[in-house]
Structures are given as C-alpha cells and as structure tokens.
Symmetry: C2
Subunit: 353 residues, 2 copies
Amino acid sequence: MSSSPRPIRIAIDCMGGDTAPEVVFQGISLCAKELGPISLQLYGVQAAIEPLVEEIKKDTACKDLFIEVILADDVVTSDMKPKVAVRSHRASSMGLAVMAVREKRADAVLSAGNTGAFMAFSKIMLGTLKGIDRPAIATFLPTSKGQSLVLDLGANAECSGRNLVEFSFMGEALTQACLGISAPSIGLLNIGSENTKGNRIVQEAAEILTKTDLLKNYIGFVEGTDIMAGTVDVVVTDGFTGNVALKTIEGSMRFVKEQVGRAVKKSIGTRISAFILYRTLKKAFTRFDPRIYNGAVLLGLNALAVKSHGNVDAFSFAHALKFTVNVARQDLLTHVKTYVDRWASTEEGTSRE
Amino acid sequence: MSSSPRPIRIAIDCMGGDTAPEVVFQGISLCAKELGPISLQLYGVQAAIEPLVEEIKKDTACKDLFIEVILADDVVTSDMKPKVAVRSHRASSMGLAVMAVREKRADAVLSAGNTGAFMAFSKIMLGTLKGIDRPAIATFLPTSKGQSLVLDLGANAECSGRNLVEFSFMGEALTQACLGISAPSIGLLNIGSENTKGNRIVQEAAEILTKTDLLKNYIGFVEGTDIMAGTVDVVVTDGFTGNVALKTIEGSMRFVKEQVGRAVKKSIGTRISAFILYRTLKKAFTRFDPRIYNGAVLLGLNALAVKSHGNVDAFSFAHALKFTVNVARQDLLTHVKTYVDRWASTEEGTSRE
C-alpha cells in the first residue's frame, strides 16, 4: 500500500451468502464508482475467487479502487454452529476478515454469510465497547416518512431494561451519523402508549430514559403500527420482539404481493391493465424493496461489522457495501463513546443488576 | 321468553366502540338472516338506542330474531381505566352485558368497546377456567393458505412457558371448533427454528409440549414470516410479542396500500389502468380485509367473551357477531375442559412455579 492519506479500508468476506462469491464481485462492480477512494480487502478461497478477481482487475468501473486479495483455506458454511465456527474456523474467509478489523488492518468488515457465526466472530474478536453490556443488530427500514432504524433485530433473545437504554443511545448515534438528523426521535416498542402498559423491561427502560435524559428526543412508547408508519426515527426493542417484527413485515409484504399477483392473473383485462401499471407498481415496490435497505450493523462493538442478507443479488450487496463505507466514514465509534461516558456517569448507568 | 328449545343468546354491548351504537344495529341488520334462530340482548343507554331499536323492530331482515332491550344508565368510555370501570361502572351497558353471561342469562357477550375494561369485566365476572392460569386474546388472521389463529394478542404482557402451553391447547380447541380441522398444526413463535434459539419461555414451552404430547399436531418453532404465510394453523406467542406482531401486520398493510396509491396517482395513464384494475385489486384486498376477520375471543374464561375492533363499520361488526354466534354454537368450553383435564394429569401441568 502507498503512504498517501489512508483511504477507508473494508474487509469483505467473499464466501458468505447463498450467491457468493459471484454476487459479491458483481456488487462491488455495480457501486465502485460511488464508493470514492477506498481500499477493499477480498477474503476468499482461491479456486472460487481467482477468476472473479481477474475480471474485476479488468473492470474499468473498479479502476479507482485499491483491491487486495487475501486467500483463505476455509469457509464458514451456512449451517455451521457459531461456537464451532469460532473455535475451529478462524482461518475461514469470514474469520480472517473480522481479524483484519481486530488488528486494525481494516476499518470495517462486511459479510453476507452465516449470521450467528459472523456475530460470534465479531463479538469475540472485536469485543463489546466498554460500558455497553450487549451489542444489538440494527438496520434501517423504509417507512411512510422515509426510513427508520430498528434495533435489536435478534442479537439478544433476552434483554434487560438497561440493554434497551443502551440500544437507544447507540441507535441515536447511528441515526445521526447515517441520516444526518441531529435529534432523531426515539420510541420504545410497546403494546400501548400509557406508561402502565407493557412488560417489565420496557417499563424499566422508559423510567431510566425519562430520569437520565440521555437522549435528545425520546418520544415514549410506540406500537407495532408505528414501525412502518415512520412515527419515530428509531424504534427500540429487545432482540426477540425485533426479530419477530422484522420477519412479520417481510411476511406481510410477501403476502400482499402474492395476493395482488393472484388477483391480477385472473383475467386478460386485468393483465393488460396490470402490464401498464407494472412499471408504476414496480416503482412503488422499489420504494420498500428490502434490497436497498440491505445492511445491518452489529452496534456496540469496538469496531464496525456489517451483515448483509444472505440471499441477495448484486444490487442488494452493493447497497450493503455502500452503507458500510458510509458508516465507516462517520467515525461512529467516537460518537457512541460520548454517549457511553454520559451513561456511565449516571446512577443507573453505573449500577450493575 | 317462550319455553321452546332455547336458541343461542348473545348479549351485545351496544355502546362500545367509536361508531356505536349505530354501527352495532346496522351490523345486526346486515347479518340477521345468516344468524339462524338466536336471541339478542341489546344493552344500551335509552336516549342513544331507542330510535335504533324502533327501526330494527320494523326491519324485515330481523324479523326472525328474538330481540330484548335492556337499558343501562352508564357507559364505559374509551379512555376509562379498567380498574375504574370494574369498580364503579358495573351498571354500564358493558358491565350488564357481561353480567348476563355470568348469570347464565346469555351464552356469550360481544363488545366493541374499551378493550382493557372489557377484559377486566370478563375476567372478574366470568372467571378463568379452573386449571388455566391466564386467558389469552385470540383471533383469526388471513394467510396465504386460508386463515390462522394467533394468540396471545395482548392479554398478558408477561408470560411463562406454561402459559404458552395453555394457549396452545386452547388454540387447538378453538381452531378445531371454528375451522373444522381435527388436528390443526401448531407452532410456537420464535426467532429461529433450532431448539437452542429463542428466549427462556419459548424453550420451556417447547420442552413441555414435546414431553407431554398434549397437542395433536405440534410442529415446533415458527418465525415471523410464517404468520402470514399460513405455515401453521395456530401461532402461539406471549401477549407482548403477539400484540406487536399483529399491529406490525396492520402497519405493513397500510404502508403497502399507501405506497401503491401514491404511485398510481402520479399519472393519468396509471390512473386509468388502476381504475380498470380497481375492482380486481379491491377483491384482492378484500381477501385480507381486516374487517372480515373481526372478532377476538378471550380464550380461557368460564364463558364466551368476544371483542370486536372499536373502529368498525357495519360489515365488520356483522362479522364479529356471526363469529360469536358460530363459536357459541360449538360448545367450546366443554372442548377446552377436556384439554385442561389432560394437562392437569401431567406432571408439568400440576406443578406450580
């Protein structure tokens, strides 16, 4: 590498995901021009990536990228248990990519592979920020008002009220960084708006947030309907509820598309009209195309780890890559640490349950 | 009343809901012919319902219904706290309607009013079935495969594994009764399919269900995507997650409709095509029109209490009424008691945490 001002360095696990490694390389090519001066470290198995590396070297779209190829002997498979991956597969493309970030040879790691393994590698190798109890998976979703951040989407099946508080301010930091909103509105996901509603951890979190005044714009409770409505910029919940909500949204979208599709197929007249409408409906569905919201941050670690969906096309992977580069540029960590310090200075923040 | 074989008697709180009492009466009129020989007890405030009662008496559609009017001096308002309602408003239309069921003067009660108050009245006046720890709110949702029952939708913000087990077999009983399926498939809502996934209560419930073999067709874990996919006939979860899931589905549907509507409005060409498509899309959206799935049972009480959505039109209220009559005819209680006895005979069922 040259010794000019260091560009952002992204470590990419090229072997992770159902459509890897082809889609990873296609994705890089698709967004290369938008990425600006960055350095990509491509981790993969020789036989699989060598031909793709050759192509990308000839790809004019990628001519301004600094690309480094690191060969791995091993991969993490989609059904591998996290513990097994971490114990015995550190030399996998995923393990090496995360290690690069740990050793500060890269600024961020991106993988579309086995989520459990990726989270395990990231937590163990990168470590959780001092002052944060548990990291959370956070992603942006399309809403009626634009987009909102939702977390935790499944890193923690059980949470305490304090975990929700920490998710809240980490979410505030990420949203400020990504959406340029200085005081993002933040709501705790609940089953009603009155403060007597909900389970113990949500009430605990609400109490702490109200008392400590850590957030710039804490709204209070929001309900399931508020997620897609975009009522708040950040929706905070425990990993179990968040994961169910996210998958429920996916299931609902799929259901609607399927029902509309079935109804349209029933007659020629509707098929003609549908054809005319197709472009318009396509644009509408693009608006909430999950592919452009691909990219979930494991928020709360000492470095940036981003997870792409596993079953993606090039367009989708490109989005995850752009997202990763964008967040890496924001120096999110320093920002989150400011919150952690304030949190640690409160009574609630220092007491350990 | 005459002394001929007693028809099903439904107590209706005519004052509950945003559109009451007009919509209640219109709803009755709409479905009267489909109800068969039933007796309706209409509870309401004189000034509000008297003119509507007069109309319904002249309504030929309702000529085969036996209608009794019971005047109340009081109503439960939409913002009234459950404790206040139960303590000081037993003479409300809601209180009197539930009391009628308690005193076995009616077989079921239906209200579109304040959910918290209705649940409180029902639990206190009707009592929870012996052997059941907590009742659950259960409703049918449209799915890719037809319809599925989902519970608990919010009666219990905190649950134990045993609660989920009880919800499971009550759900099985209700689904057998309503959908005529002898062995409905049942899944526990979780964040993954492996048995190591999920929180403590879900794992506990899975363990008990596997061990005790209480259900005819227990599938295992299902995820958020499976709800609308109709992967199973009954989805079981705690009240917090269930409520969030349900409202998230509502929010997703609303979002899709809004996005499609916005896209369509953008040009004359699409508006014409949309007009042609309108009837077809309307049929598609009817398929999952929440109005035809109106009616949530408070499952686990000693008698039948059904909650209608508050903000309903006549068509929707009519569905809740038809649903109530249908369930009342099935003698659900005896059916659930069979399960309760089997549950009580197991080691897990008898041990109290």
